[in-house]
Symmetry: T
């Protein structure tokens, strides 16, 4: 069971500034945590990690996953609210996708209330800090086992 984790724009900056507010976990800490968590669920889970600030590269990576992965956990960052291209990539590959957000986007600006990704995802998890990723991992694994 191969799971691709896609981190969208600005997530490479996680933990770089104001640790007292955002915590000291960097993106590589998050990935390490997910590797451990995956192993603790099932040895057969193979996580892969990808980060990009480019909408086009994320589209291409989702297409690549069509032949290489069973499911995707994506935090589309700002592209959540603006990218129809990523939505179309998910639609055309038809890979199961779980959308996650570190912050609770529903507490933020009006323009963050609309997601182009949610309607083409299995489900959405938002607001639990980096624990959103752990919950997303559990959700995609359970979903794939149920199929």
């Amino acid at each position: 069971m191969k799971i691709l984790f896609i981190h969208g724009p600005n997530l490479n900056f996680l933990g770089k500034r104001e640790p007292e507010i955002y915590g000291t976990d960097t993106l590589s800490d998050v990935n390490s945590m997910l590797l451990k968590e995956a192993a603790s669920i099932d040895k057969g889970i193979e996580p892969e990690f990808f980060q990009s600030n480019s909408e086009g590269e994320i589209v291409t990576k989702i297409q690549d996953a069509f032949e290489n992965h069973n499911g995707i956990v994506i935090n589309p960052g700002a592209y959540t609210h603006t990218s129809i291209a990523i939505r179309d990539a998910i639609l055309s590959t038809a890979i199961p996708v779980v959308e996650v957000h570190i912050s609770n986007v529903f507490k933020r600006e009006e323009f963050r209330q609309k997601s182009f990704i949610s309607p083409v995802s299995v489900g959405v998890i938002s607001g639990f800090g980096i624990n959103s990723y752990t919950l997303g991992l559990k959700a995609i694994v359970d979903f794939l086992k149920d199929k």
Copy 2:
């Protein structure tokens, strides 16, 4: 650690019709599953369950929780989109709340895209079938431990 699960309107009807579509799990099956899941996480977790079709009763139950529970997992059903009273109950009690939905509401009618509850919740989990409850349980427990 006392966790209150609130099931909103029509959730008492779960599993009563069209099992081939909605599954055969009734609400009491869901509650049993959650009891087992809670025990498997930590013996100290005490789940309580409440279902009502009445907006006012849900408001009152949230107020009762102020003195009796550490956290709430709520599936507000249709009241998600119409009840400012439930939002205000959460605001005034300030108990940590996780909002869950069985279906992916973002795939449904326009009027289901707006939640009065999400902005006053810790976070939101939507679209994973009855597994949304399990993920919600995990999320609230992790949240309470982190505080």
Copy 3:
């Protein structure tokens, strides 16, 4: 053929004030009229009547009808425009429903132009005074016979 008539909020007040405007027919007069009308159509029709000012009680009554009635004639009153919970109850029970209104709601305030109930009803009858109920009875009986 069991038909449930549901009268929504404030309909218990019918005929109580300003008889020169609203007529002197009370809700119990309406129900008597419907009993007579039903008998004149077909002896086998068994009408039942229910009134409530509470959204939650109406939801519960619709669920009860799932096992007890063949069709519903509902005047949802003010809940027509605000209750997704009643809509969901109709959706989940899948009982045929005819929506009726005493006044022509399309002549009234903007916010009365939108009905959450109409899209999940068989059809809508609005504006014929208490005769809307008689037409609704005829409509549901014809619909059930055609099935």
Copy 4:
């Protein structure tokens, strides 16, 4: 008691295509049914039938009815949502009008939710197949008798 039935655009096509979906009743079958139904209610009722695809002809027909009919049952078809001219014709003649629709327009596209005709009608009946016409006939007759 002279009742004019006005069938709007495309209703002359009724029953011409896909009988398994729309039924095999043509517009002339509907008119025959209404003649029979009228006779069964009261021998004194004189139905007249009119169909046109032209907004202007419908306006003119409503004006003609001012001196020739006691009431109108109209299915304005697509003009329901676009014709202020028909609305004005009803307003200026002040003949009682009952608006009927074969399909439940509230289940259809957003632009079919607004009717220019409903606010100037006695009432509206929508969604009962060709039975909507029968109910409309009963409604206008009862209305005229009550006046």
Copy 5:
């Protein structure tokens, strides 16, 4: 100087009902009044009158005017608010047009506030009863003399 007066839908009904409200002037009275008024301004003015309830006929009449008239005074009635076809006819013939309304449309329903005709007219006169036509005649004559 040939001036075409176009009366839109329902204006043929003027003076037919409720004389205490709308006056007893029929459309033919209005036309007679305009003939007299035109003569009193300038013997060389040749008014022609046209009324139709059909959008298409009004379009065709405007096209005919391209070779036969110097200016148009139009009361588009309900088509003011719905007809892009009449707007396009005015645009493509480029004849000077004055738009008039008997009632003050700005005091009426929201949907009467928008005119498709005004932006392609020389100017607009609204609210002066049948005197709006007299003012419109004066306006188009002055406009044509100034050119």
Copy 6:
């Protein structure tokens, strides 16, 4: 002169949490204050108090007031913005109503800017803390004396 005070949802929670912010006055303190204030204005004023979290119960209470009270002072809480049923209850009983709010709702979320109750009230008082109730009492008494 019998005055009914209706406290809407969550007002039973007043003073229960964060006294440094919301004050230590509970709802029963407010009611005591109003009893004293009423007596100081006029011994003939008989206040009655009612609180409910249920929309339906508030509707029913307003109907009961039709035969038992001269005026109502209502703080509809969250139902201010969502309840057409309460609006209709006020409309159908036609009892004079003064709407009050503890906080200045105009400083809060967009969805709190619209009140279904204000257009059917005598007037509105908003933003003066629990003094809004005292001003509401004075307002309804003055209004009833002026009639």
Copy 7:
């Protein structure tokens, strides 16, 4: 018959710039023309002229007219679209008002399409250059004579 002409903001600048576009008529030329036109209609008409760039002064002038004039012809300029105060002044004095515009406002920016003044005016004349004033004079005189 005393007629007050009110010229709103920036109309004092008429004819000062770009004569090839706006003409060389200054506001005082317009007023002279109106004096002549008034005399030609009826010696008993007494025009008075007022210009101000200040919303407040226009409000006060309309109030003064309450005791001194029979009717008003107003070109509210930019205040057409923004001034509720001028609307209220017209409403509270109830003097007949004719609204005029030199340009055809319906050909201009979206924000110029809404007039706060039109719904409280007898009627509106827009787009005929300074001839709009002449037509407005004729319109108000005819209106006052008909009353």
Copy 8:
């Protein structure tokens, strides 16, 4: 305790027209009533009165109050709905302001539903006739005493 009463545009016209509708109280009657009312509450209250039809003068008066008054009771009239300048004056002086309206603005046109002043006021009182001023006086005095 110096209280400034600001009466906005058109309030100088109070009582001048249609006494059977608006009452015979002029603005100077209102001011006299307020002087008496103030004295009956507390001899130390010094009311001052100001009326203007000019937005700019009201802005300047509010600025003057910064050094001369403890609180303001303002009826901004039409400027309620259009003046950001008055809002900014209140914001920059930070004097406590109570907004009052004679009529219930929530029963009137849509454009009167939005107030630029309410969000920067302590609170709002609307709909109690000239009694709104008396309630406003009581409200500002209580507010200033509580500070």
Copy 9:
């Protein structure tokens, strides 16, 4: 293979005015060009041409095509943006339709951006002058051959 070309309102005026702008091709030139083009593609294609300024006549013509043609190329002109009746005619006959426009409607007024016809057409071609018709012919022929 019988193809019906429908030219909507004002297209009969093509080439009549301002040849330097719109070209000198009249509608009959366009039709001749299409005859030649059709022959050059396939001798078996039988084009028929129809123009009308009347919405109702276009509806009727589409219905007639149900039994007489294999496909339609329509330039609905102004009715593109206002006619639900034409949309319904296409829907009820289910003939393949290609929508064409001479000008690029997306460069024009906002109200020309919405087409009621496009969602029920096979496809849309817009902006290529009279070449849009040639492309439309090719498109419908290819479509019919592919079926």
Copy 10:
């Protein structure tokens, strides 16, 4: 005559999934078809093909075309609805552009109804499957020859 074909995001995935629905034509098949089609029209036409999932790369490619191509046929995919940058690239290079879509975008989600590209294109072709490209080729060639 050098024609650049630009295929936007996800078009590289054409034919990769669900051949029974989308056909088995891959993007390279489409390009081959276009080469053949171009040759059959005119040997002098030199097509070039470019695909990218990146908005920025498409912008750069359009700029490159400024010196290298005579016209562009673009299927902007999802960027149609979100990219002002591509619009600006077309604007600043001023190369003639034909916009094509495989599916009929007007049948799809609301957010696909708005194109940033159409208003800066010569014209638009939408809905004819991969034949849209062939029609687009013919359209740009005819356009360039006519210039």
Copy 11:
């Protein structure tokens, strides 16, 4: 080179309250600073300063500038968002105008996002404290020199 600086409503209050927040610079300090800055750029620049809380006075001042100044730097304060009259004054005088704001209006309330002045200005400078004025001076001088 004569430059007029116009300070809109409430700017006369600058530096009067909360110096720790808004700084201690009064409007006269700002003007002194600008005099010095102007001299340092070019001895030939003659600044003039004007402040008013009245929309009408600002309109008049802009008209006066038509004959007396080469350019205007305006901070329209609250009138930025509400005054079409000031916009029209700029339009009719056609003097080059630079719009400046002390605060970054784009960080503030929604209603401050729309400026009636920006579209008729040369350019806009917003958010640099009183340095916005210095930048505005430099901008207008450079603009006038470039002409």
Copy 12:
């Protein structure tokens, strides 16, 4: 003091086309001008220049600036109106940013009126041609010195 200048999409095309309209200054001319200007202000200012058509590269460059620059002057071009990713990059690095535009965006299409960047910038400068950059340089330098 290190200042990064970011030029968004299509700015690399500056000066390449229609020199009579856009001038002959290329982007490298602009950069040279800024180097000179910086030196003339303060030898310690070190400008760096970056241009990209890719949203993702601009995000990455802003992140790089976190450790390498004191301030940014950005012309985000088309991404101003569509990129939340660039907004988030600025938010997460918290570097002071000045937003500049060559043209006055407020004179252009509606969709260019909204900037995602302005609310997270120090301030905005728009409309002064390439002089906007010079003003932006002065603004950021003054801002950094004041801190």
